[in-house]
Subunit: 218 residues, 4 copies
DNA sequence: ACGTAAGCGAGACGGTACGTCGCGTCTTACC
DNA sequence: GGTAAGACGCGACGTACCGTCTCGCTTACGT
C-alpha cells in the first residue's frame, strides 16, 4: 500500500502529466460548448490544448474516456460536498417548516451544474451525447432508489410499478434541468431543487414530506 | 388530372425509388438494433440494403436525413391514426368509468413503438442519438402543450412554472417508455398509457380528470 | 448495293440523328479549345450541345469515338480537296520555277487547320491527346512515305536509316505547325508549306528539288 | 553543422519517406509500361507499391506530380552527368576526327532513356501523356537554343525563321527517339546521337560543324 | 396526311476513382 | 520518462463520371 501510494504519487503528481490532462479537459469542455460533443475530434482537442496529438493517446483512448475521467472527478467532488455539509443541511432544512426537504445531493449537483451551465446545456441537448445522458439518468435513478430505501414510505399497489416511476422520475429531472439551462437559469438553484424535489416525490408516490396525505391511508 | 397523375407517378411513385428508399430504411432500422445508430456507416446501410453506396447519396445527405425521413413517415402515420379513430376512442373512453382518459396520440405512439421495440430501445438508450431523443422530447412537449390548451385546467400559482413542468413531463415520458422497452414490455401498451397519463397529469398539475373520476368509484 | 444505300440513308439521313451528331461535334470542338480535350467529360459535351447524356451513348462509346468520327470526316474532306485540285496545283507549281514544290496534301491540311487554329493548337499541345498526336504523326509519315515511293530519289547509304528519318520528319512537322499556331500564324499557310517542304525534304535526304547536291555524289 | 545535419535528416533523409517515394515511383514506371500512363489510377500505384492510398496523398497531389518529381530527378541526374564529364567528352570528340561532335547532354539523355526504354516508349506514344511530351519537347528546344547561343553560326536570312526551326527540331528529336524505342534500339545510343545531331544541325541550319569536319576526311 | 417506329429526354442505378478527414499506432529526437 | 513531430495504415466520407437501363413523349419517315 505504501508502494502503491508512491506509485500513485509518481503517476499522478508529475507536473507535466497533470498539466497535460488539465489542458485536455479544459479544451474538451470549451469545445463541447462551442460545437457540441459529437462534432469534436481528437485533433480539435489537442490543438486547443496546445498539446501534441500523440500525447493525447498516451493518456486517453478517445474523447469518451477523457469525458468520463472528467465526470468521475465531478462525481467525487459532488460526493465530497454532500458528505461535508450535506447532512447538516438536510437536517437543518427538514426542521425548517418554511423550506421543504430536498433530496441529498440534488442541490450540490445543481450548484455544480451552475458553474458550467453551457457545458451541461449542450451535453444534455441535441448536440450532446446519449451515453452521457444515460449516465446522468442512471445516477439520478440510483439516488432516488437510495433515498427511497431510507424512507419507510409505502406505495399504492394499484399504481404504476416502482421501477417505472423511478425511470420516469430520473428522466424527468433531466427535463427540468434542461429547461433551467435553456432559459438561462430563471430561478435560483435552491428554488429549482425545491420544485424538482416536490415533483419527483409526487411522481414516485412519496407523500411523506407533504404530511397532508398520510392521514388518507387508513 | 391525367397529367397530374403522370407527374405524381414520375416524382413519387417510381417503383425503383420507392424500393430503394424502403430498403435503405429497413437496413437502417435493423442495423440500429444490431450495433447502435452512432456506429452505423453509410456503407453498412447500403451493403445491408444491397444498394450501391452512390445511390444512397442520390436520396439522402447522410444517415441522419434517412432517419428523419423515417421519423416523418412515422409521425404522419400516427397522426393519421389519431385523426381517424382518435376522437371516437377518446370520447368513448372518457365516458367509460373503468378506463381513465388517455392523452390523444399517446396510445397510438405506444402501439407504434411496440412494432419496433428494439429500435426505440436502442435509439432512446446509450447507443442512440441525442438529436433523436430531443426530437422525441419536443414532440412530447408539443402534445402536452396542445392538450393543456384544450383543457380548462387551472394551475397552482405557487408551484413550479408551466414550462418547467412540460419539460419535466416530456422527458419523463421517455424514461417510462425506456423502462417499458428495457424490461420487454411487462405490461400492455394500454396499461402503460394509463399509468403514464396519470403520472403526467399529476406532474403537470392537471387534476381535473383524476378529480372527476375518483368520486365515481364508490 | 441498292439495299445498302437505303440502309445508309435510313441510318444517316434522319434529320434528328444528323442534328444530334453535329451538335455533339461542335460542343466537343468548342470545349476542347476552352479546357483541353483531357478535361472534357461526356456531361460537359451533352450540356453544351443541349442533348441528353443518354443520347450521347446512343451514338458514341465515349468522347474518343466522337473525336475520331470528326477526324475521319476531316480526312475525307482533305482527301477530296487534294483529289479535286491537288494534281493541277502540284503540277502547276512544279513547273513554276519561283514556287518550289510542296508535298501533296500538305497545303490542304494547313488550310484546314487554319479554319480551326485553336482546336489544333490545343489538341497538339499539353492539354491535347496523345492518341491524337500519334494519329497525326502516322498520317504525316504515311504521306511522306507515299511521296518518297513516287520519287526516284536515292538515299545516302551511310546516313540515318530511312525509317528513322521518316519518324523524325513526321514529328518535326507537328513541331512546325505548333509553332505556327502558338504564334498566331505569323505567316501564310503557303509560306509555311514551302518552308516545311524544304526542311522535310532535306531531313529525309531528298535533294531532287534542289538540284545542286546531286552532283556531289560521284 | 550538427544541427543542420539533423534538420536535413528529419526533412529529407527520413528512411520511411524515401522508401515510400521510391516505391511509388517504381510502381508508376512499371504500371505505365503495362497499361499506359492515362489508364493508371492512384489506387493502382499504391497497391503495386504496397503503400496505403492515403499515404500517396501525403506526398503527392496526384499521379502527375509523382511523374514530375521523377522527371525532375532525371533532369538533375542528366545535368550532373553532363557537368561531370560532359565538357571533357565534348572537347575530346571535337578534336577526334572519327567521331563527329554531339550536342551536349544528348548522349546522356539517350543513355538514360536506354535504361527505361519501355517507359519512354509508352510515355511518348499514344498511351502516354501530352504534358509529358510537351515537357520533353521544351527541354529539347531549350538545349538547342543554348547550343545555338554558344555557337557563332549564321543563319540563312531567306530560310524558315529560327523559332520555327527550333520547334521543328525539338519535335523531330522525339520522333527519332520513338523510332529507336519502337524498333528495340536497332543501333547504339552513340550512333543515334550522331545521326540525330547531324539531322538536327542541318534542320536548324547549322553547317559549321559539318563544314569543319568533312574537309578533314580525305 | 397520317400512323408509327425511331429518336430523344429524363433520370434511376451500379460501379469505380477521387481527394479529404479522422483515427490509432509507431518511431525518433528533444528536454 | 514525458513530450513534440510526424509518417503510416486503415477506413469512412461525400462527389464526380462512367456506362446501362427503362419508360414515356414527340417527331420525322414512309406508305
Amino acid at each position: 500500500m505504501g508502494l502503491k501510494l508512491v506509485q500513485k504519487t509518481a503517476e499522478l503528481e508529475d507536473l507535466r502529466i497533470r498539466r497535460t490532462r488539465k489542458l485536455l479537459q479544459r479544451a474538451l469542455i470549451d469545445l463541447t460548448v462551442e460545437k457540441g460533443f459529437a462534432a469534436i475530434t481528437v485533433r480539435d482537442i489537442t490543438e486547443r490544448a496546445m498539446v501534441n496529438r500523440s500525447t493525447f493517446y498516451r493518456h486517453y483512448l478517445d474523447k469518451y474516456q477523457l469525458l468520463n475521467e472528467y465526470l468521475d472527478e465531478v462525481a467525487v467532488m459532488i460526493a465530497a460536498e454532500v458528505f461535508e455539509e450535506g447532512k447538516l443541511k438536510v437536517h437543518h432544512q427538514s426542521t425548517n417548516a418554511d423550506k421543504p426537504e430536498v433530496p441529498a445531493g440534488l442541490l450540490a449537483l445543481l450548484k455544480h451544474i451552475q458553474q458550467h451551465p453551457d457545458f451541461y446545456r449542450v451535453m444534455l441537448g441535441e448536440k450532446g451525447d446519449s451515453a452521457f445522458i444515460q449516465r446522468f439518468r442512471q445516477n439520478n435513478e440510483l439516488h432516488y432508489r437510495r433515498m427511497l430505501e431510507l424512507s419507510e414510505a409505502k406505495l399504492d399497489a394499484h399504481a404504476a410499478p416502482l421501477d417505472m416511476r423511478l425511470s420516469y422520475v430520473s428522466c424527468a429531472g433531466i427535463g427540468a434541468i434542461l429547461w433551467w439551462l435553456e432559459n438561462d437559469q430563471p430561478c435560483a438553484a435552491e428554488q429549482l431543487a425545491v420544485w424538482l424535489g416536490q415533483l419527483s416525490s409526487t411522481s414516485i408516490g412519496l407523500h411523506f414530506n407533504i404530511g397532508l396525505e398520510t392521514p388518507r391511508k387508513p
